[in-house]
Assembly symmetry: C2
Homo-oligomer: 284 residues x 2
């Protein structure tokens, strides 16, 4: 990233937390960053997400919300890269959520900080769809509260391992079936309406190629039932393909929301952390 | 079974629908019943459950509720056993459930008919816990409506395939954690509260050996949230071990219910069907 926040180059690898043996983090990072070795070893390095979890490189304890960018950058955890260089792990957030239960995030906090900078309003709500979808409330650059919904993981489990996904032909995205699922989600609790994925297929009331779209509508609809705070600006942050389904459901439910790229928010969030770090003179 | 409904002998095999190749049903049945061949081939044979599904031996189309014992026994489907003998498949029920969605059962209808005979009241509610738990309303021997909850399947999926069940030590049943889960289920929709299985473990607010008990409480609590019809007698029908957890949750929630053995209800239900069949002179 250049100092103005634009991306100069990008390296991606599908090498998650569970693929790295404990103690091997510096080596794996060194290998991943090999294409940038010609830039010298002086680039500042910030790390976010599960790398700071108990099972990660080094634990970066959660910061309790309400919390701001500043509070995150004060709690960065230093790691040695093994070549004299060092990096900083950004901690995640913890909260007591809307349901009064403990909640955590790692990685999404950077998107939220970026969102706060990109959409400066006194108060906003954000939905970050994904395996563990997050709903958050922000006041300025302070994350006030958030709640995790296991929507993406439930979809994957039910599709791959349950009776609902058994012996399905190749699936096609179908807006009508998706919205039928959203409607059904309004009629009862999730465990009460979920079996309709089976019965609507059995009675041919949804196309057999659209069973997953209906399931997706049911799950996203159930998630959106928790939306509170009408009148507060609402943003959907993440991958555009997935976010479009959330926006479609919300339009259907009469809820206005705006899309912002999750990658863009992440970079702006990381830039904020970096600026704070620079100001506190930890790095040049 | 003797003519008074008592069990003379029993054969069990864990050989479900998916284990039998289409067309092989008569052969498999013949092998299963080998220990009874010395009784001669004249015993009447009634078959219930998935054997009558689209993927079963022969499809026995669903009977729509409201429906009684009589309506089921009028819709029995004849199958030839291949040795000159025949049997009757009992059809399942279909319904439009509480959520206004199509619903089905196969096998549980026999337990419901047995329950109606064992607990004759003008109106009762029944919960049949299991992989696909059923809630039903009966008026006399007429099944009025029912609703399926995927509680058992969700528990198994989340335990075996989700992040919630990952790297757990051997689990111990724990009533305190179970009831903590029931309490949590009251605080939000299932997808909203489910992640607390992860966070309560992370923050050591439930014993690591009791994670599954907490998950079970969450799921059963979510299912019981749909209970309506206070004042109507409520029965929990099934395996005693599983039903005790439902009864514990209901006692905690201040809901009175009574346990009846699912096997006993099944046998009484089958006997009812057999009596109807005899009266209509299909069998001696």
């Amino acid at each position: 990233m250049s100092t103005d926040g634009s991306v100069l180059d990008k390296i991606s690898a599908s090498q998650g937390l569970l693929a790295v043996t404990s103690g091997e983090f510096p080596t794996v990072l060194h290998q991943l960053l090999a294409p940038w070795h010609h830039c010298g070893d002086s680039l500042p390095l910030l790390l976010g997400g599960m790398v700071g979890s108990q099972q990660g490189w080094r634990e970066a304890p959660y910061v309790s919300v309400p919390a701001s960018v500043a509070s995150l950058s004060e709690k960065l955890v230093l790691v040695e890269l093994g070549n004299g260089q060092s990096g900083w792990i950004v901690p995640g957030f913890s909260a007591i959520n809307q349901a009064g239960l403990p909640d955590v995030m790692r990685g999404e906090e950077l998107q939220l900080l970026g969102l706060a900078a990109l959409a400066p309003t006194p108060r906003l709500r954000a939905i970050l769809p994904g395996t563990h979808s997050k709903h958050a409330v922000l006041c300025g650059d302070v994350v006030q509260s958030f709640n995790t919904f296991m929507t993406g993981e439930l979809f994957s489990l039910l599709k791959h391992h349950s009776i609902l996904g058994r012996q399905l032909p190749v699936q096609q995205p179908c807006q009508t079936s998706f919205l039928k699922g959203v409607d059904a989600s309004l009629e009862g609790g999730l465990s009460q309406v979920l079996f309709s994925v089976r019965t609507l297929r059995l009675f041919e009331q949804i196309p057999i190629q659209a069973v997953e779209s209906y399931l997706s509508g049911l799950l996203i609809g159930s998630e959106l039932a928790a939306l509170k705070g009408a009148g507060t600006p609402l943003f959907v942050v993440g991958d555009e393909g997935l976010c479009q389904w959330y926006l479609l459901a919300m339009e259907w439910l009469g809820v206005h929301a705006e899309f912002i790229s999750g990658d863009r928010c992440f970079l702006v969030g990381m830039t904020q952390i970096y600026q704070q770090l620079k100001e506190s003179r930890h790095v040049s």
